[in-house]
Every structure is written in C-alpha cells, then in structure tokens.
C-alpha cells in the first residue's frame, strides 16, 4: 500500500473564493455563448412591443404606465434568465459537480444569485435606454436606478431558490413563474410605486416608505432563502 500525499490541497477552500469562482464561471460561459442574454433581451423587447399595442396609450397615460410596463417586462424576462441559468447546471449534471466540491452550499446559492443578478441588471441596463428612445421619455433618474437595483436583488434572491427547486421537478420551466410571481408581489408593488413616484418628480422622502419596504423584503427574503437553500439541494 502506497502512502499518498495530497500535494495540492489548501486546508479549506474559502467561501468567497468559491462564490467568486461560480460567478466568474457563469459570466465567462455566458459571454461566450450569449444564449441567455440574447433570449432575455429579445423577450423583453417583445414584451414592451406587445404592451405598446395592447395598451395604446397617449403620451399622458404612458407617463403613468411606464413604471408598470417596465416592471412587468423585467418580471417576465427575469424568469427566462433564472430558468436557463439553473437548467445549465441540471442538464449536464453540473449541479452534482458543484455539490461534490468541498464548499458550503451557500456558496452555490450566492454564486448563482449574483450571476443571475448580473444578467438581470445587464438586461435592465439595455431596456431602459431603448424604452427611453422608443417612447421619448427620460428614464435616467438616480432614484429609478436605485429602485431597479433593490427590486432586482429581491427578485433574484427568491428566484434563485425557487428556480433551484423548479429545475428538479417534472414541470420545470412552467413551474417557476407560478411559484415566483405570487411571492414577489411586494417587490412589484413597491418598485412600481417608487419608480412611478420618481418618474413623476416626487422627492425621496415621499417615496421612502416604498424604498423601505423593498429593503425589508430584500433582507428577509435573502436571509430565509440562504437558510433553506441546503434543503433544496441536499438529498
């Protein structure tokens, strides 16, 4: 029997390094194939187009409806991204690959959440100027950016957890929006109200209660999702 020496191991693999590795992996892979981003982007633009014909708003009405249209678009396109991001792991068995590594499961949760958030923010960053141009509205308001950031964080926090579950069921893609939408309604309410407020020139203090709601939701939902994630991936 040969004595084998483990020459290549560190004592422990750090959590932040693992999270960083997963985020890097997702972004690098996506940069190459651009499958996920293009799908989300095209879908988002199509949704905006559909709303244009479905609602037939004049300039005045459109100003009021903009926040709602934007968030509906983000919510729908978001599920696409969440689904695809998890499907990649499940289909090639890569989820097992991640689970085999000696890292805390929360690294998987945070890593996937951060890359999902990155994808969502990229899409939002493209949709905003496009919408501005298409409808001749100025959407570049710092408050709006803040709301989009906070809303996306909460959406992705619970979305990553639920997509990890959905991808392990038979009904997969169809199930995620059904699970996700009822549960992210607080985000939609607060985000739409806050966005609308900012776009209509309300001050930060006026919109404060909704911003607070977003922050509270984000914190609670991220904490809970992080705590239960183990139960979703461990057999």
């Amino acid at each position: 029997m040969m004595e084998r020496k483990n020459r290549y191991l560190k004592a422990t693999s750090s959590l932040s390094k693992a999270i960083g590795a997963i985020v890097w992996k997702d972004l690098a892979a996506e940069l190459r194939s651009r499958e996920l981003l293009s799908a989300m982007l095209v879908f988002a633009l199509l949704v905006i187009l559909i709303f244009n014909f479905a609602l037939e708003l004049d300039a005045q009405a459109r100003r009021v409806a903009t926040a709602g249209i934007l968030w509906a678009t983000f919510a729908f396109a978001g599920t696409l991204g969440l689904n695809r991001s998890m499907a990649v792991e499940k289909d090639r068995g890569c989820l097992d690959g991640l689970l085999l590594a000696p890292v805390d499961r929360s690294a998987i949760y945070f890593g996937k959440s951060i890359s999902n958030l990155a994808f969502m923010l990229i899409i939002e960053a493209i949709v905003l100027p496009v919408y501005s141009v298409l409808y001749n509205t100025n959407l570049f308001h710092p408050g709006l950016i803040l709301v989009i950031l906070l809303g996306s964080v909460g959406y992705v926090a619970v979305g990553t957890l639920l997509s990890s579950m959905a991808v392990q069921t038979r009904t997969r893609d169809v199930l995620l929006p059904i699970l996700l939408f009822p549960v992210v309604i607080p985000i939609l309410i607060a985000a739409v109200k806050a966005s609308s407020g900012f776009l209509q020139g309300l001050t930060f203090t006026d919109v404060m209660p909704y911003i607070n709601l977003l922050i509270v939701y984000d914190v609670i939902v991220t904490a809970v999702s992080y705590m239960v994630f183990d139960y979703v991936v461990e057999e």
């Binding site: 483990n6 560190k10 693999s13 693992a18 190459r32 085999l100 590594a101």
Partner: protein, 232 residues
C-alpha cells in the same frame, strides 16, 4: 478506506439498499456489478456524499457521512456518466473553475499536468462542447483527479463510448488507479472490468450478495461468477 455497515436507503416507501455491508481497503480497485435497478448508482451517490443514508454507517476516507461530508469531499473524485463539465468553457477553464472550488495550490501547473495525463493538452483552449464524448470523459477524469484524491468513484464510465474510446479510457483508468488510489467502479461491461479491477462485488436486491478478489476468481469466468451470484 471505505466502510459501510448495514446501509439502508429508502425513497419514501421504496427500499433500495437493504443493510449493505462493504469494506474496501486502500489501494483496492473494486468493480461493483449488478443488474439495472439494483441500487448501484444510489449506493455510489451515497458514497459520493450526494445522497444521505436512511440508516446505517458510512465511512469514506476516514470520515463519517453525512456529518463530515465536507472533509470527505476534499479527498474524493467522481466520474459519472454525465460529463459534469461546462460546454461553453474551454477544457482549461473547466479545470481552473474546479481548481478554485477545491482550493488547489499552483493551479496552472497542476492543470497542465492533468491535461497531459489525460492526453488533452493540445485541446486545452477548445470549448468542451466541441469535444467527442470520449474526450469529455477523459477530461472528466482529469477533473476528478485534479485535487489528487485518495478515493475515486466511477459510475459506468464506458457508457456511450466506442471501442477506441473505451480502450483509451481503460489505459487512463489503469494509470490513474495505479497511483495507489482506492477505486470503486460500477459497470455493465464485464469483459473490460475483468481486466481492470482487483476485486469484484455483486450488488443485487439491495445487498452485496457476492464478492471475490481477482486471485480467488482464478480460472473461473467472471460472467459465470456473476450469473451464479445472481441466482442465489
């Protein structure tokens, strides 16, 4: 190196493993045989810390599962019939990713070493989705030994490979196992397994019903041994 005592695994009401006892010494190469649905993959997943036992004791590389799973994972390499590789990354990037997850020192050097061992050095900058299945399996083995584990688990690694690819795989398996590692491999391919393993265990109806080292097998055909074990 690997010990299971009265291992029971139930999925709801269905019992797949019924008190499985197994002992594998360091350096052994055990071929785990058995009919489909016998529980080989379930058993391997438990050893791989991907699934937790319902009852019983499991000790791998000196650590108890599932409680000390993290310690086990440091010392475990797994190759299943799914590639566990990211198609949109290059071979090198895949290894670098897993290297980071396992906390490997001098990753660049180790990656080159591994790529040379599995014969994919020339393709290191190619995307994995351009690889044939045989090449993907070889890279998967590279991934499994990247962190130099003492224990290797293979779940039907020959699945979907043609003859040449299988031969190449076997050469690699011999090389990798020869470094004193402990290997457990499930397979349906008795002919190949006969050449590779030092011990043959048959898993049927949830327990190990027969076990024989290669020496004890002697003149007997592995196929006969296997058939006999299933009849009992």
């Amino acid at each position: 190196m690997i010990v299971t005592k009265k291992l029971v695994k139930r999925f709801g009401l269905k019992t797949v493993l019924r008190g499985l006892d197994l002992e594998v010494q360091a350096g052994e190469f055990v071929a785990l045989l058995g009919p489909n649905g016998a529980g080989k993959t379930t058993f391997l997943r438990i050893l791989a810390s991907l699934s937790s036992p319902t009852l019983g004791e499991v000790i791998v590389a000196g650590y108890r599962l599932p409680r000390q799973a993290s310690a086990v994972r440091h010392n475990l390499g797994v190759v299943s019939h799914m590639p566990l590789l990211y198609g949109d990354l290059t071979a090198e990037e895949n290894l670098r990713f897993y290297g980071r997850l396992y906390g490997i020192r001098e990753a660049g050097q180790r990656i080159t070493e591994v790529l040379e061992l599995v014969g994919l050095e020339s393709r290191r900058r190619d995307l994995v989705r351009t690889f044939s299945r045989g090449m993907q399996q070889r890279l998967a083995i590279g991934r499994a030994i990247l962190h130099d584990p003492d224990v290797l688990l293979f779940d039907e690694p020959h699945t979907g490979l043609d003859q040449d690819a299988c031969d190449m795989l076997d050469r690699l398996l011999r090389k990798v196992a020869g470094e004193g590692r402990t290997v457990v491999m499930t397979s349906h391919d008795l002919a190949r397994v006969e050449e590779l393993a030092s011990r043959f265990d048959v898993l049927s109806r949830g327990i190990i019903c027969a076990s024989s080292s290669r020496k004890d097998l002697g003149r007997k055909n592995l196929l006969d041994f296997y058939r006999q074990a299933l009849e009992n």
